[in-house]
Symmetry: C2
Subunit: 319 residues, 2 copies
Amino acid sequence: MDTKKVVAGVDVGGTHTKIGFADKDGNIFSERTLLTRDYKVFDEFIKALSATIEQMKNNIAGIELVGIGVGAPNGNYYKGTIAFAPNLPWEEHLQFVDKLKAFYPSIPIILTNDANAAAIGEMVYGGAKGMKDFLLVTLGTGLGSGFVANGKMIYGHDSFAGELGHVIVERNGRQCGCGRKGCLETYVSATGICRTVFELLANTTYPSAFRDKEFSKIESKDIAKAAEEGDKIAQEAFEITGRMLGEALADAVTITSPETIFLFGGLAKAGKLIMEPTKKAMEENMLNIWKNKIKLQFSELQDKDVAVLGAAALAWETI
Amino acid sequence: MDTKKVVAGVDVGGTHTKIGFADKDGNIFSERTLLTRDYKVFDEFIKALSATIEQMKNNIAGIELVGIGVGAPNGNYYKGTIAFAPNLPWEEHLQFVDKLKAFYPSIPIILTNDANAAAIGEMVYGGAKGMKDFLLVTLGTGLGSGFVANGKMIYGHDSFAGELGHVIVERNGRQCGCGRKGCLETYVSATGICRTVFELLANTTYPSAFRDKEFSKIESKDIAKAAEEGDKIAQEAFEITGRMLGEALADAVTITSPETIFLFGGLAKAGKLIMEPTKKAMEENMLNIWKNKIKLQFSELQDKDVAVLGAAALAWETI
């Protein structure tokens, strides 16, 4: 019997680390989860990860593992390292690929950050199949992005390219976790829209369900729900968030001229609440040559296990 | 005798069209100029261009013409066309490469816009030799840019990428030739700094040489000269221009993470008057991971005939 070639896609998160085996068509064969924080020492985590991969291999007949792709916060594609990832429980510099290579010396192991992995997932398995120039924006706790040009991920000279969330859209604007002020992600992200709701509570007198809630307990999906139910503050928060995202996308287009921009992540689940104002502001601010020419759509992998698929795609892209 | 391989670099401008033969090392063998406006019909221009190239070939013994590179305003790399170039005297759509191909059917002819040609010139002959990720900014009448990532020019899906001059840096700011408001090039360009001088004349009461000059007659080099002579308005205009450029570069870095940013063009000739405030603002606004890590320097081709060399480099890059 012929063996089926698969890669392991590994999504390293602060809480869960997911591992999936995927073939070239994006079929996931087996999936497992590790609790990241169960491992106090990084070496133990790597040992558990390779043990899990081994178990998965042994449980499925007729497969051959030909590569491992890893998506991780602050992952460095060139070095195979993770540096200063605030949500991971280990030391500041992790030699991820080198340590895992000790267990898998003869297959390629590739690592990148989560947003890049999602973009490669879109390119290999999703709506960007066959596209040479596109942009994927992830709207999660922060705002991540992966730019692809000439069919290749733009990693930049140091692997840190694609930090669209840290374009400054408001000089002296909101304080950002990066230490500066006015970064796009302080407005446009799951956290950003919560900040906008509270700014609107302060600046307006509209009645709103959010007048009776604690700042620390609001999530972006509550805002989407309230907006759908007619809460004026929630609706305005989506309008503002979309406008700022649309303006930023029109600017980003001037640099890489993507064929399509994909939106992905928690906030993208708000559907037309976020899509409509984003599209409107993007077109209003677009340079003439691109008006009504750049597609804006949700990721086609939205409901699948993108993080694992993206990591798997990264391995397939290399093989 | 062995023949020496050369390419023709053609720089199409509104006033002059320059043609130079260059070898792979950037030595220019022969140079000629056509007066662009002498040719009322585009076909006549192409005929004159090919006749000139033929004369140049015949005048130098032992060379072989192996390609032609063309830099032109609004040049489209994918299509080999020029569209809506406001300074060229012919129709709106020019089938440049196809028409020239009729005279040179068997060698590659490649066309791109001026800023991309300058960037490729820097990569093949200048300070970006061997670099995979860099950015070149041309500060002329407008602000042009060429982004290179993974060793390749970013043309985008339609060849129009790299319009950094049309990132909006001031919502509802200065009217731009593109029909929108607040584009970077309305502030940061030879024209932009003249506008800033007049804004300062309006907003301040400093004495200045420019209080006795007509707006339409001021050139950026006059402002540089005045700044060197202590004119406070001229000095402040450079401070403002540099600050806005530095802020925009810090934002651009987040997208492509270039190893080096090269400044080029008329305004770059102002030397440290423009370099110092640009560098200062760029570093002040830079995300931590890039602080003091991205080189900012003038083009190393500044004093050579870059437009012709860039066009020649474009041909060499393809061959």
